[in-house]
Symmetry: C2
Subunit: 325 residues, 2 copies
């Protein structure tokens, strides 16, 4: 890598050429396995783009920061897959399936520590600020994950609680990535906070799109089980809104579908979808998503102004908006 | 807390008065639960003593460092208890038993992040150096734990491998604690390294004493199941040495006890103990432990010289040497 890199396309190449080295082998193999399973690499790309917006160039140190952000994301994937008892991730076995539970716990732990190692080994003058931002975000991700786990045990969930949970679990990570990229470029705190807000609103829109696709997308579009959240009786925003806005027998029916063991799964999915539509929950969610996107665009304008890199960010943005997967 | 603190006895008080605050409640309750289960608090005390040796006083920041070290220790306890499937810790339920596996994973994760938060929130000029030392140590602890897990699957284990494993899993943590205390007091790298070596040798002696007590201690002395390592067929240093030094039928008998399902557990413990003694493995281990202690004393001399605080360290040292538990 040289200091002349000016696109973010080669992050994947950087990642592949910088595996974690150490012993014992099975620990480091499991860490590199999850890192190299692929994915959109959205979070590190956002970090690199924010840096380019503010500084025009990229450096080895910024790639290392981007790798730290991707590593934090992978740490959370490894531990979340244990928590969710998930056998498959991106078409391959999850770490605890390919190795075992103890190794998956330790792989996650060591990935988390490696994030700090990566940031500490940069020679950026903003290192301490970056570490503070990173630490706050990492705590929030854990808190969000625990809040998500607590939801099924709660009698009543407000929409606000649900949105707060996805903000912590999902949105603060891209937000922090963008802010770190800007800070590392020497941006002011004000500017960097616009990047943060952009990422937060983008992340919220992203998660709402996820929820929408999970409910209304086809298996052919998403590559996932159709109506997975409905079958799991997950009280997503769609459900919370519908429960609030349906009346009488419709509301009772919705609660019945979520309360009883159902044999005809596709009947359940179809009928719950109809009830969501009747309550206007699909439009409500899409409107809310649209609002987050509008806010994100305002934030981007404040953050990037007329920078040529704004176009790259917008392309990523449009890609995320249009995605079905 | 004021800056006039000059003993390390009030660390427990400091810990109790500085619980981790945050939401959701069950996540933070589980973190504070393990932190407040008690224990000897040996690692933070060593950090405070090293600081006193070099600076004569203690500050709020140094207590915060000590809390970070104790927090790292507790992070590893929470995750190790999951890995070992342990139901009880210090006479109380382990975190995954009192809450559940997901909460225990997240509690450990968040404790690890809190360590960094605590160090970052000090205003020590050596902050970056401290973070580097801490990070290296934390990685080693994970590596050591994985190495320990890998041992049962290995056909052949050398004594060197076993000692390397306990060095990483157990000894680098007190070593790092002492070094951090010295560094925070403004000690030179040379001086700080003497503290590190003291902690490393102390930690090795400590772990060998643990292994000895597990084998030869009585349940009344240790409060634990007698001969636990033997019953689990753990290839500790005693076993590795005995296997190497017994001959003919004795060696075959030892391997038989470790290879077969045994109904008469106390017969197994007694006979394996006799074989260890016949091989001279008990004396070998105690000699090795003594060597580590001698090295530790030399290191302490180089580190502390004639400081009055050396006496405090020596008291802790004697306490650890004499302990049965």
């Amino acid at each position: 890598m040289t200091e002349n890199i000016v696109t973010s396309d080669n992050f994947e190449e950087y990642l592949i050429s910088h595996p974690f080295l150490g012993k014992p082998e099975n620990l480091y193999n499991s860490m590199n396995y999850i890192m190299q399973l692929g994915g959109k690499r959205m979070r590190p790309k956002l970090l690199l783009l924010a840096h380019q917006c503010m500084a025009g160039t990229l450096t080895k140190d910024v790639y290392q920061l981007a790798l730290a952000i991707e590593t934090l994301h992978n740490f959370s994937l490894v531990h979340d897959d244990i928590i969710d008892n998930a056998p498959i991730r991106r078409g391959k076995k999850t770490v605890h399936e390919e190795w075992n539970l103890p190794t998956a716990i330790l792989a996650g732990d060591n990935l988390l520590i490696k994030c700090y190692d990566l940031i500490l080994k940069t020679s950026l003058p903003q290192k301490e600020e970056l570490l503070n931002e990173f630490t706050t975000m990492a705590m929030q991700v854990c808190e969000g994950q625990q809040m998500d786990m607590n939801l099924p045990g709660k009698e009543h969930i407000t929409e606000e609680e649900y949105l707060h949970m996805i903000r912590l679990k999902t949105a603060v990570l891209p937000a922090c990535a963008l802010k770190m990229g800007a800070l590392a470029a020497g941006a002011s705190l004000d500017k960097s906070d616009h990047f943060y807000d952009f990422g937060l609103n983008l992340g919220m829109a992203f998660q709402l799109q996820d929820d929408f696709l999970d409910c209304f997308g086809t298996a052919a579009e998403t590559g996932k089980q159709e109506g997975g959240d409905i079958l799991e009786n997950k009280r997503t925003l769609l459900f919370l809104h519908a429960q609030q806005h349906l009346e009488g027998s419709d509301r009772e029916e919705l609660n019945r579908w979520y309360g009883e063991r159902v044999l005809d799964q596709s009947a359940k999915i179809n009928r719950v979808r109809e009830l969501f539509v009747k309550a206007g929950s699909d439009r409500y969610l899409l409107n809310l998503k649209h609002e987050f996107e509008e806010h994100a665009l305002e934030n981007l304008e404040q953050a990037c102004g007329q920078s040529e890199f704004k176009q790259h960010v917008l392309m990523l943005f449009d890609f995320l908006k249009a995605r079905k997967v």
